[in-house]
């Protein structure tokens, strides 16, 4: 803990604390966990960018079916995660983050093709990831599920969910906040 504490100046820690939903202690803990992924690189340069393959090794992400999408959303440069990206991720997934922030990022995570809309293709990808890779639902069931979701949520009949529609549906879900949470 002492080593990682010296890696940040007081001002930086202050900034991190003001701008994320983590306390100073949690921030240092996050840094420690980040450093364990590749202690050499992070030790030498605290802004080191670890490639996605290394970050995937984190136990909390390893079994998550959305891990690549999560990493892509939070990565600022597109080909790796720095400590700040990682901190961002932990802040959004923390307990204190308000629901609006979580909803926004959930939308981005589920938006596989990155076009700011959840189209049928996005939903299909989402469902197939949720149900595991080996085609647990057949075509017909999948299509019916997608149709049901669009019927519930799509208001302007454009066969895809915009952010407003997504937010409308998900903010009523009682379990969303408790399931969208990672504790380190």
């Amino acid at each position: 803990m002492g080593a990682s504490q010296s890696a940040f100046s007081e001002q930086e820690l202050d900034d991190y604390q003001t701008l994320t939903y983590l306390t100073k202690k949690e921030i240092l803990h996050v840094h420690k966990r980040f450093a364990t992924l590749d202690s050499g690189a992070v030790g030498s340069d605290k802004n080191a960018k670890l490639p996605f393959t290394k970050v995937k090794e984190l136990p909390e992400l390893k079994v998550n079916p959305f891990k690549d999408q999560i990493m892509k959303v939070f990565s600022s440069s597109g080909d790796g995660m720095t400590f700040e990206d990682f901190l961002d991720m932990m802040s959004v997934f923390s307990d204190d983050a308000p629901k609006a922030v979580k909803v926004e990022y959930a939308f981005r995570i589920y938006d596989f093709d990155g076009d700011d809309m959840l189209s049928s293709a996005d939903l299909k990808e989402l469902i197939s990831r949720l149900t595991g890779e080996d085609n647990a639902l057949n075509e017909e069931q999948m299509q019916q599920l997608i149709d049901n979701i669009l019927e519930e949520a799509d208001l302007d009949d454009d066969d895809s969910l915009s952010f407003a529609e997504f937010e409308h549906v998900i903010s009523k879900a009682p379990d969303f906040v408790s399931s969208f949470r990672i504790r380190l």
Partner: protein, 757 residues
């Protein structure tokens, strides 16, 4: 930002607004498609003020390469619309809200040159905008790198007083929010519970959280009772247990564990019997308050989130069913399976709704009636059995003497434990005949099992009382013959001993059944035989009922054995570790979800009901039953509560008159009628509120579907031209491209909403 976003590489724009304008006039490529009018008039140079006045590198505009791409990107359809709209844009600088909005969308539409925009602000509004942005900065979904740069930039340009006031304001808000959520992270067993939720999910973890809550409660009770009742007794060092008092535990029977050892005299200034009674009453009231307040907090938290019906079953399942807290592959795999089964079930249900014929439904009704009668019969039968066994013991069997003695001592607890094992199994099987939906099935089973546990406990206690007071009646009979050496009669001690026996046997039963059913099965499976059997599921509901049963025992026996709370703590700790190890090694997460958000309150509710039943039983015992004359702190009184009157002193006559008057029917009946009227009034009021709520919900649904479609349709018409189909561009994008059009959308919205009743 990500270089692969479709806007750049799309030469064939899916909608005209997506493809960037090709006219080389638009230099300031700032959030793609958004143009500031002032830049239109500038010359064809890239905004070279990438660097701030102070030479700090600020937000980068996607560089020259992108420029080239954009300019070569052919834009088939009309950029005309963009041009015209751009020219209509007002020449004002962007406000704080607008800057934040664009920053939010920067991950799709390109970076925002916020320094530029901020510089455009005039001094009057600059301060306000800075404060506005800084205030909301934390909640914005932008990368922290950007946030830090932006916040430092802003803070450098604000004067120090406003900066410090803002930071202190934010710090205070944060403190308040931290304090308002009671963080359960302080406490025991957090690591264990975390591991369980990693393997099994939050639903199973809620069982362990509930156990933790009960442990805290029991520790509180134990400390109070020990400190105020037992300790004075021990310190005063006189054993008040009458000689000749014999119990089933030998020496321990006369120790402070049981009722009999407490003396009925004062110790110096400390009035021990009064302390006994008052502490016991206070502990009960405290339990009640703790449970009710915890339920209230949870209920109010959940009501804020939930709608009373499941409005979007499919969407919520798909979007929020993955529990991100799961970190182990086995847990993840099982969670996936659960999701699969759930979705399959939902899809199937949706496709073939339950169409039952008239004959089928009457048949089902008859079956259900029969089953309910059976359940009542089982309940009655078990109650009678307990009473019977308490009363008599037929020892005509040919068994060795020690076994006979053992059985005789433990007959009642054994019967209660046996019933507890088998009756829930019966209920489990019987529910399948009734053909309810799975959720209802679970609820009905839980209700029946809880009812059974309660009934068995109450009957157990009362029958114990019946049996123990035999000796009082016998004593009364023999007293007439004036024999000196009659047996010492201490019914409270006996009841206390029986309760302790039941607690111990319950613990033994839990350990034994777990060892037999879970460990053995797991060992068999691991050795390769019977692999098709599968591990047992962790059925949270039945485990929780078990724990609540144990807690009810503690509440019932607390009066007769003050240290029972401490024993309860020890038992719960043992059960926790045992279940934890069992869950990790031999069990599998449950196949049906019980909504995690609702289950916490449901368990509390059952706990509260149990508490009430126990409390009322004990209140009856305290008020009605005569304490034994030979032992205990109340031997001088006729009724236990008279300890208050006899110690605190006689009440002044006028109070006594008032109390006597108030308890006459002349007052009691009108009061009861009045209370009934009050209940009816509030019921009528709440029924009318429910009607209003339903109407409003209906309105909301209408608004959502029909109204919003109209609004979107009108908005589409406004953008008109080639965009009639309206697909492919997200509403946010449409909002972005026309600042002024946002007002028109809201206008159409308000007009359309006004036009509808």
């Amino acid at each position: 930002m990500d270089e692969s976003h479709p806007l750049l590489t799309n030469t064939q724009g899916q909608g005209s607004l997506r493809a960037a304008p090709s006219a080389p006039d638009y230099q300031a490529f700032d959030n793609q498609g958004l143009v500031l009018e002032t830049d239109l008039t500038e010359t064809n140079t890239l905004p070279s003020d990438d660097r701030d006045d102070r030479g700090v590198d600020i937000g980068t505009v996607p560089g020259g390469a992108q420029q080239a791409d954009i300019s070569t990107a052919a834009c088939e359809a009309d950029t005309v619309s963009i041009v015209t709209i751009g020219e209509e844009q007002e020449k004002v600088a962007l406000g704080g809200e607008e800057i934040l909005f664009r920053l939010r969308l920067a991950h799709i539409y390109g970076d925002l040159d916020w320094a530029n925009h901020l510089r455009r602000l005039n001094d009057k509004s600059r301060e306000d905008v800075h404060v506005q942005i800084l205030d909301k900065l934390r909640e914005q979904p932008i990368s922290i790198h950007q946030k830090i740069r932006l916040s430092r930039y802003l803070r450098d340009r604000m004067d120090t007083t406003s900066v410090s006031s803002l930071t202190s304001q934010q710090a205070r808000k944060r403190q308040k929010s931290r304090r308002s959520k009671f963080k359960p992270s302080v406490g025991i067993w957090n690591g264990n519970i975390g591991t369980i939720s990693a393997y099994f999910g939050s639903h199973v973890a809620s069982y362990f959280v509930f156990l933790k809550f009960l442990v805290y409660l029991d520790v509180l009770m134990a400390l109070l009772l020990f400190g105020l009742v037992t300790l004075p007794q021990i310190l005063s060092n006189n054993n008040a247990a009458p000689e000749g008092l014999s119990g089933d535990f030998g020496v321990v029977s006369t120790s402070v564990i049981f009722f009999g050892a407490y003396s009925d005299t004062k110790w110096g200034f400390y009035d021990r019997p009064l302390a006994f009674f008052l502490t016991w009453a206070a502990v009960n009231v405290l339990c009640f308050l703790v449970i009710v307040s915890s339920m209230y907090i949870r209920y109010s938290l959940s009501k804020r989130v939930e709608t009373s019906e499941d409005e979007f079953p499919f969407s919520t399942t798909v979007f929020s069913s993955w529990d991100h807290a799961l970190t182990k592959p086995e847990g993840a795999g099982l969670r996936t399976n659960v999701i699969i089964t759930n979705t399959k079930e939902m899809v199937r249900e949706e496709r073939s709704p339950d169409k039952s014929t008239c004959c089928q439904s009457t048949g089902q009704f008859v079956i259900r009636a029969v089953v309910n009668m059976l359940v009542v019969a089982v309940l009655g039968g078990s109650g009678y059995l307990i009473y019977l066994v308490a009363d008599t013991w037929d020892s005509s069997l040919d068994i060795p003497r020690w076994l006979d003695d053992l059985l005789r001592t433990y007959k009642l607890p054994l019967v209660v434990a046996a019933l507890k094992m088998f009756v829930p199994l019966i209920f489990d099987q019987v529910i399948r005949l009734e053909g309810y939906a799975p959720r209802t099935e679970l609820k009905v089973t839980i209700a029946r099992t809880a009812l059974f546990y309660l009934a068995s406990l109450v009957v157990f206690l009362l029958s114990m009382y019946e049996v123990s007071t035999q000796c009082i009646r016998d004593v009364n009979v023999t007293a007439s013959t004036a024999t000196k050496n009659r047996a010492v009669c201490c019914w409270e001690n006996e009841v206390g001993e029986e309760v302790v026996k039941v607690v111990l046997i319950d613990l033994g039963q839990i350990l034994l059944t777990t060892l037999l059913f879970d460990f053995l099965r797991a060992a068999v499976i691991k050795c390769g035989a019977f692999t098709s059997l599968g591990y047992r599921e962790f059925t949270v509901a039945s485990e929780v009922l078990d724990v609540i049963y144990g807690q009810s025992l503690v509440w019932l026996g607390l009066f007769f054995s003050p240290l029972l709370a401490a024993m309860g703590v020890v038992k719960l700790v043992i059960v926790f570790y045992f279940r934890y190890v069992t869950a990790r090694m031999c069990k599998v997460p449950p196949r049906t979800f019980f909504r995690a958000s609702r289950s916490g309150n449901f368990f509390m509710f059952i706990l509260l009901i149990n508490f009430f039943v126990c409390f009322f039983t004990m209140a009856y015992a305290v008020i009605e039953l005569k304490p034994s004359t030979d032992c205990g702190p109340f031997k001088a009184e006729d009724h236990v509560f008279e300890i208050l009157t006899s110690r605190v002193g006689d009440l002044p006559t006028w109070i006594r008159d008032v109390i006597v008057y108030v308890s006459t029917p002349a007052i009691v009946i009108p009061v009861i009628l009045f209370l009934l009227l009050g209940v009816l009034y509030f019921k009528a009021k709440s029924a009318s509120y429910t009607r209003v709520i339903d109407k409003l919900r209906e309105q909301l649904r209408f608004e959502r579907r029909v109204e919003k479609r109209e609004v979107f349709a009108r908005a589409r018409i406004i953008y008109a031209g080639p965009q009639v189909s309206g697909t492919g561009s997200s509403p946010r994008q449409r909002q972005m491209t026309t600042v002024s059009s946002r007002t028109s959308i809201t206008d159409t919205a308000t007009t359309s909403s006004l036009s509808h009743p």
